[in-house]
């Protein structure tokens, strides 16, 4: 590395001394009428063949003899020229007709290039499309707007959870790999976490969408080779907003959004809670609390079971759960037993998100700067949850002199997250409502009784440990504790979770224009992430629960990670012989990554109640620490040769040396090459309706390196000693001998066309990618002595088409209507090779709770990536389920039933933009078809009698819960399991029928498609006519007020109980938090 860098340094010094003898350097900027930069204009001294190109921001430096005339040409603008007198130049270009200006594609190291010479799919999403409505997360803002990318969104109740982008299906056997997010050339690490667990795509979380100017989505190895080994699954390249146009501007944006839960599960409202379908009459006995006397003779439902197999709710008198607690207006009083259809809905807060952004920008002779501050404040949908986030972003460039430019870009994000909003099976945060619940609970009353305590000081629960007839005065806690659950609000009141995150990332650079077209840029990039979390479980929860599994505890964790990059790049742009534009880049980079983590938590409870410190642990506290270090050195080069603007060839190559690879073979070399042919630039007399046409093709490779320490077989000590004896275990995972890095190969080809003066456009892209010999940690059969192994084994392929279309459907003076549509079609995504002797493996993060009982995702040989496999019905003749003829119940399910891929085949979206006079309407719709998920919540909702099927009427008009002798029961059809063919047509008692699926391990009724069509974002904006306001128009340049909506309408869903666009886990959901619908207003002013 040192050699290489020294060479560059020497080279640059040489250049400095050789140049500037006969000519002087002149800096210039090419702008349009509005002061926006014009990208890639051609700059030439009049009369000379050679010249330079302005960069994407319109900047150029050219060396001239004083007094020369400089001529500027750019697509879509009239040619212009100016006499150079030695000072800085600023050109204002005039648009000609309807021609479209250059689309700028952002690539590695902040390098921008013209769409004309881009030989791969590179969709660019601009700020306007991104910020239709104020968004807290960039990947949520991108959902439905990019061809071939599935965004797996999450419920907003899970505070600030980021949608996971899955580009073109799966590629790694180990599961999903997030694309990298690159901000102004700095790769933002995805390896961060908000609460101690790493979620996919968390890198995007720290990017403030309101600062994003454009987003370029790059996918295959052909497009991302230069990004290095982190870009395994594509790159989302962000260019932030900058100051421009010689102006100063102040913008103020204020959005307020309200969230309400929607699309809740269909639960029954006919039967009350408990395991018994009757009320038990209470008889007062000596020793029972005095306040219970008045309940003598009153019936009570079974409180102890958290299911809803209770009596039919007919308005009869009964003793509700809270009647047994003295000291309230309800004590000792009976109530009417009625259904509570809205109790789940009533639990949730109305979420409130306030988004404030103020930014200042100014640019002028030799400088440009922008400063932005955003404050996001969220009141969560779950009681007591909130997020307070402050983001400061700044971008500055200074021209130190005619040849030297320096600049700094940075983002600082600090956030405090509070509350317990975890989801997952039987979570106390309330994702359990569909799994384990009593349908007779009045949630508003529950809320008003959130602090209610029993005579022994415990929290009152709707789910008493025992029923009142078993009350034992000598042991009141056997009644006055929660069996499995607390009052939902009381739980939230006694949990304190806080996470403080601080993230800083950015770059500082210095760029020297050594010669005409030759510049050298040195950049330092840093991505620093620190977090600190603290979780407290109050002692009251421990004493108030019997089987709730909650012990008083204190947990704290800190993490500090730092990713430093030093980068030196030389670029050379020159037009040779008038028609050959050459653009070269060469450089090197060195990266150092380290991460330190330290955490501790108490064990087995706290000695002193509510004294939250590690020293107060009942038994020896757990202490965990980890240290992760890695380094990578790289050199790279790329070139682009364009002839007469119609034919271009591009190539790139990069070589990495990585500390994570075996020392004997620690380098990976990977190239990429492509061509682009633009016939509309070549053939002059094309039909006038064809405005632009491009054919392109490319090939490339990119590396798969190894995880840090993957080549080691590390033994670790247990932190707990057994009477001073050390404990050590053989590690569960072993690296295969000869483990090494590998390469992903991508091919891509497509056409890009625009018609009728760019009014309509269509891009069609085909891709074919192979990832062979993947170094992956895979699960292996434990009988070999390891549960996992890191090997070079798997091969995953994928191919498909991506379509993007634009249309200016209406273009009148007052009314315009523009449409953008995308479609991604994943044709094939097969896993063609896995571990020898095995036909499927399961990535460790794909195992669901009760996974082997029901269904979860696997990688199966010869099938598409991510198969949902689990308990299907065992089927006999005519594919009918086999039923035990004596019981009428399904026999044990076929545990190897395969429902197909978890990845939808088709994804896409449609954005509509309407303008009418001063009104602007945006509507963004997206959809996906295919793919499967498994709902654990539905399975337990069935078991617990909470879901509506368990209280329906059968085809004989009687409740499925009624006795068979009265015509009740579930109608069951199938074939006998004895011979596999005799037809069975019978009725089974509802309780037995709905309880059978867990025992028989059948997941089939709970597997659904992921298909949906959703109107995701709508905004109606009005541009206030500030020009007519006279005096105030001098202060306010523009003002917009808009009404915005998110998740407005789930037009179609293949799943009745869940929004398929927000499924919490890769294989399905486990008691996830509900979908929401949001409405809000947004005000935007420019001063």
């Amino acid at each position: 590395m040192r050699k290489f860098l020294s060479l560059l340094a020497v080279l640059s010094m040489l250049c400095l001394t050789v140049t500037a003898q006969t000519r002087i350097p002149v800096k210039g900027k090419v702008l349009d009428e509005l002061g926006q930069p014009v990208s890639f204009a051609s700059v030439r001294v009049k009369g000379e063949k050679q010249g330079v190109s302005a960069d994407a921001d319109g900047n150029f430096t050219i060396r001239i003899v004083k007094g020369a005339i400089i001529q500027i040409n750019a697509v879509g603008y009239a040619s212009t020229e100016m006499v150079a007198d030695g000072g800085d130049l600023s050109f204002r270009m005039k648009r000609t007709g309807q021609a479209l200006s250059e689309v700028v594609v952002s690539t590695a190291f902040g390098v921008k290039k013209s769409e004309r010479t881009t030989p791969y799919s590179a969709q660019v999403v601009k700020s306007e499309a991104l910020n239709l409505i104020p968004q807290t997360s960039l990947s949520d803002a991108l959902a439905g707007k990019v061809a071939g990318v599935q965004f797996r969104s999450q419920s907003p109740s899970k505070l600030n959870a980021t949608a996971a982008a899955r580009i073109r299906g799966g590629l790694m056997l180990s599961g999903d790999v997030s694309p990298i997010y690159v901000v102004d050339g700095t790769i933002i690490s995805n390896d961060v976490s908000k609460d101690g667990t790493t979620q996919p795509n968390d890198g995007a979380y720290d990017i403030d969408p309101s600062n994003v100017e454009t987003v370029t989505i790059l996918k295959g190895a052909n497009a991302t080779a230069l990004f290095g080994s982190k870009a395994i699954n594509g790159a989302i390249v962000i260019t932030t907003k900058k100051g421009y146009g010689g102006k100063s501007a102040v913008q103020l944006n204020q959005g307020v959004i309200l969230d309400k839960v929607t699309h809740l599960m269909h639960l029954q409202n006919r039967y009350a809670g408990g395991a018994n379908n009757y009320l038990t009459t209470y008889h007062y006995k000596a020793g029972d609390p005095d306040s219970w006397k008045s309940l003598d003779g009153v019936g009570f439902p079974d409180y102890t079971d958290d299911s809803s197999w209770g009596p039919e709710m007919l308005g009869q008198t009964y003793a509700p759960w809270y009647a047994w607690v003295p000291g309230t207006q309800y004590s000792g009083k009976s109530a009417k037993l009625v259904g509570q259809p809205n109790n789940v809905k009533d639990f949730w807060n109305t979420g409130l998100t306030s988004n404030t952004n103020v930014n200042f920008s100014k640019s002028g002779q030799g400088y440009s700067t922008r400063l932005s501050y955003s404050k996001q404040w969220i009141r969560g949908l779950i009681p007591n949850s909130s997020s307070d986030r402050n983001i400061l972003t700044s971008s500055t460039t200074i021209d130190i002199n005619k040849v030297v430019t320096a600049g700094v870009d940075f983002t600082y994000n600090t956030q405090l997250l509070s509350g317990d909003y975890s989801d997952g099976y039987a979570n106390q945060t309330s994702g359990n409502f569909g799994q384990w619940n009593h349908r007779d609970l009045d949630m508003k009353l529950m809320k008003s009784l959130r602090g209610l305590k029993t005579p022994i000081g415990t929290l009152a629960s709707w789910n008493w440990f025992h029923n009142p007839d078993g009350y034992d005065a000598s042991q009141p806690s056997s009644f006055f504790t929660g069996n499995y659950w607390y009052n939902f609000y009381a739980y939230q009141d006694n949990i304190e979770n806080q996470t403080r995150r601080d993230r800083f990332y950015g770059d500082a650079y210095i760029k020297v224009n050594v010669l005409d077209g030759l510049s050298i840029k040195g950049t330092v990039r840093k991505d620093q992430y620190n977090y600190w979390l603290e979780n407290k479980v109050h002692s009251l929860l421990e004493t108030s629960g019997s089987q709730t599994g909650q012990l008083a505890s204190y947990r704290t964790e800190q993490r500090n990670q730092n990713d430093m990059n030093y980068e030196l790049i030389a670029t050379y742009n020159h037009n040779f012989f008038k028609d050959l534009a050459v653009s070269l880049l060469a450089g090197g980079n060195t990266e150092t990554y380290n991460r330190k983590q330290l955490g501790a938590n108490t064990n087995q409870g706290l000695n002193i109640a509510d004294y939250f410190d590690i020293s107060n642990s009942k038994s020896q506290p757990s202490v965990t620490s980890s240290r992760v270090n890695s380094r990578t050195n790289s050199v790279f080069a790329s070139g682009e040769f364009e002839y007469k603007r119609f034919l271009s060839l591009t190539g790139a190559v990069r070589q990495d040396w990585s500390s994570t690879l075996p020392a004997s073979d620690n380098k990976l070399l990977y190239p990429a090459a492509g061509f682009s042919f633009v016939p509309t630039e070549l053939v002059k007399n094309l039909p006038s309706w064809l405005s632009f046409g491009k054919l392109y093709g490319s090939w490339g490779r990119k590396p798969l390196t190894l995880d840090v320490y993957a080549t080691n077989l590390p033994y670790s000590l247990s932190q707990y000693q057994w009477n001073s004896n050390l404990l050590m275990s053989t590690p569960g995972s072993v690296p295969a001998p000869g483990l090494k890095g590998a390469l992903i190969t991508s091919y891509e080809a497509g056409v890009d066309m625009r018609f009728v003066q760019n009014r309509f456009g269509l891009t069609v892209n085909y891709y074919n990618e192979t990832s062979a010999s993947q170094p992956v940690q895979i699960s292996v059969g434990s009988t070999g002595g390891y549960t996992a192994k890191v090997i070079n084994a798997a091969t995953v392929k994928r191919q498909g088409f991506e379509f993007a279309a634009t249309a200016g459907i209406m273009r009148t003076k007052d009314f315009t209507w523009n449409v953008t549509a995308t479609v991604g079609w994943l044709m094939k995504n097969p896993v063609t090779k896995i571990v020898p002797g095995t036909d499927r493996i399961q990535p460790s993060n794909w195992i669901g709770s009760f996974g082997t009982h029901y269904a979860s995702a696997y990688q199966a040989l010869g099938k598409d990536w991510g198969q949902l496999i689990g308990g299907g019905y065992t089927r006999g003749a005519n594919n009918l389920p086999e039923i035990d003829p004596t019981t009428g119940l399904y026999i044990t399910g076929n545990a190897n039933y395969d429902w197909g891929s978890i990845v939808p085949k088709v994804t896409g979206g449609i954005q509509n933009l309407f303008t009418y006079k001063n009104f602007v309407v945006n509507a963004s719709l997206d959809y996906q078809f295919g793919g499967r998920f498994f709902s654990l919540t539905e399975s337990w909702g069935m078991y617990s009698g909470d879901i509506d099927y368990t209280a329906a009427n059968n085809d004989r008009g009687k409740s499925v819960r009624d006795p068979l002798t009265n015509g009740g029961g579930v109608h069951v059809k199938g074939v006998s399991s004895v011979d596999g063919k005799t037809p069975i047509d019978t009725y089974v008692d509802g309780f037995t029928y709905f309880h059978q699926f867990y025992g028989a391990q059948i997941a089939e009724p709970f597997v659904h498609k992921l298909s949906f069509v959703k109107l995701r974002e709508v905004s109606l904006g009005y541009n206030l006519p500030v020009k007519k306001w006279g005096f105030s128009s001098k202060i306010v340049q523009s003002a917009t007020v808009s009404v915005v909506a998110r998740n407005l309408w789930l037009i179609y869903s293949a799943s009745r109980n869940f929004d398929p666009s927000e499924i919490s886990d890769v294989y399905g959901e486990n008691g996830q938090l509900p979908a929401t619908r949001s409405l809000g207003v947004n005000l935007s002013f420019t001063f």
């Binding site: 640059s12 102890t304 020297v512 053989t730 549960t787 493996i841 025992g999």
Partner: protein
């Protein structure tokens, strides 16, 4: 001047870049990729302690739901499920054995299910003490031969639990450090090898340095030999139905080698704190109440006037076995003081846990004698076996509980032994011995279930909520095997066919469990 300025600027920035690339060759990273928080050299004493820390799980392993050994205890009706009765109504039961063979990925903490892989740890101990390059280091923790012998004994003990539950297993080709696409050994071959291993291990102990990390016996060679012979005895007896001749030979060899004698019960002494008595851990830390003493057990004990009812559970109210969920919930509500296991919530965190009791061994000898396999006196062995068991369980009675202590007295014992249902002087002598074995193995489910399958004593019936009228005779292979070792598990599973034609059924019979 300007030119001077940017000259320095460029030179300066280049220097910075060179400096930060840290004066090393581009492809050299030193120790960057060595995890500073780990070691690459295993410590055999620490591996041994780790294995021994799991020892009680091979008899009772509830913690994260029921493990196979708790399921075994349910099938022989030592325990009942109190709320989710899926296992005890005989739904299909299959189980993964990952944590027996290999450690989980994140092996930290002291939970058997999130850690471990005792069999591979034992293999590592043997390898480290065998390999010429490591044996000298390993010998710092005790003589190579002693460490290997202990590891072999423990391997047999753990494998025997597995094979008695599943039948054929990956055994001779297992633990090879490969991908686990391992052929299964016939259970008969496994038994043959286990007998050989135990015999050789006992003979292998040398007079060398005491083994460190032995939290069970403190490195006592004599104790390990007794333990090995006692397992040998129980495994030999297990062949009574299928191959009495071999069984007899092995039982004789085991007894000749020296088995657990009076007062020699083996128990694990828990330090408390981070390593807890498993019953304390279950009731007081995980705070679950899924398991209770079965009414089958309490009924037997109370109808026979057996005082062990005092210490087998927290009360004499047994929980009926095999109820449907609603009936179980109703029973729990109506009987809030049903019997929790052993001392239930009152268990102390540092209470010892029985690994193998002297009563079990004497009763096994009684059965062998009664079968004519040995020349010992079955009546004397029977009497001593019960007496040993009473003495053992009496130790967990509170010193101040005179009434209970009285029930364990010698005079009470004599009355008990004289009662017609207990006395061997008449009736079904073998049946009485075998029934006492079932009573005495408690709470070691695997041994209780094995003996029930082998002898048919006592007579057990399915509960009222049962979805199958028959009691399971094995547990089916887990889903992981079907994922990672599909053809081998399919071959093995095909031998175990239920009456409904299902392969790898809970109702297929393992080798020694012939009709």
């Amino acid at each position: 001047m300007l030119r001077q300025f940017y000259k320095y600027l460029v030179a300066g920035s280049c220097t910075v870049l060179i400096a930060t690339s840290s004066c090393k060759k581009i492809d050299e990273f030193g120790n960057t990729n060595i995890d500073p928080g780990k070691t690459t050299s295993p410590v055999t004493s620490a591996l041994l302690t780790n294995v021994l820390s799991t020892l009680s799980y091979y008899t009772w392993d509830a913690g994260n739901g029921a493990g196979i050994n708790t399921v075994s205890g349910l099938y022989c009706q030592y325990f009942s499920e109190t709320q989710y009765t899926d296992i005890s109504v005989f739904n299909k039961e299959k189980a993964d054995w990952n944590f027996y063979y290999a450690a989980n990925l994140n092996s930290s903490g002291n939970n058997f299910y999130t850690n471990n892989g005792p069999l591979f740890d034992l293999k590592t101990i043997i390898d480290q003490n065998t390999d010429a390059t490591t044996k000298a280091t390993a010998a710092l923790n005790g003589s190579n031969a002693n460490q290997i012998a202990i590891a072999r004994i423990l391997k047999v003990y753990i494998f025997s639990t597995l094979t008695d539950i599943f039948g054929d297993l990956p055994y001779s080709k297992a633990l090879a450090g490969d991908n686990g696409v391992t052929p299964y050994d016939k259970q008969q071959a496994i038994y043959t090898d286990m007998f050989k291993e135990l015999t050789e291990a006992v003979a292998q102990f040398d007079g060398g340095a005491t083994v460190k990390g032995d939290i069970l016996f403190g490195g006592s060679v004599a104790s390990w030999k007794t333990f090995a012979n006692s397992i040998h005895l129980l495994l030999g007896l297990r062949l009574s139905k299928v191959d009495a001749a071999t069984g007899q030979k092995e039982v004789q060899a085991a007894i000749a080698g020296g088995v657990i004698g009076a007062g020699g019960s083996i128990q694990m002494d828990y330090p408390g704190g981070s390593y807890l008595n498993p019953v304390y851990n279950y009731y007081d830390v995980t705070k679950r109440f899924d398991y209770a003493v079965s009414k089958t057990m309490t009924d037997w004990l109370s109808s026979h006037g057996d005082p062990r009812i005092i210490t087998y559970g927290t009360s004499s109210i047994g929980f009926p076995f095999g109820l449907s969920r609603d009936n179980a919930v109703a029973f729990a509500n109506a009987n809030t003081k049903y019997a929790q296991l052993l001392k239930g919530q009152g268990q102390a965190q540092d209470d010892p846990f029985i690994i193998l009791s002297s009563g079990e061994i004497f009763l096994a000898r009684a059965e062998a004698a009664q079968r004519g396999w040995t020349g010992e006196d079955p009546v004397a062995m029977y009497q001593t076996g019960i007496q040993e068991s009473w003495k053992l369980w009496k130790q967990s009675v509170n010193d101040t509980d005179r009434v209970s202590l009285l029930k364990f007295s010698d005079s009470a014992f004599n009355v008990y032994m004289g009662s017609p249902n207990i006395s061997l002087s008449s009736g079904d002598v073998l049946g009485k011995i075998c029934t006492q074995e079932w009573v005495t193995h408690y709470p070691a489910g695997p041994r209780g279930w094995s003996d029930w399958r082998r002898t048919g004593y006592p007579t057990l019936a399915a509960g009222t909520g049962a979805v199958n009228s028959q009691i399971p005779r094995r547990i089916a292979y887990g889903t992981n095997e079907y994922s990672y070792n599909p053809s081998n598990v399919a071959t093995a599973g095909a031998q175990y066919v239920g009456s409904n034609g299902e392969k790898d059924s809970n109702y297929g019979r393992i080798w020694w469990d012939v009709q």
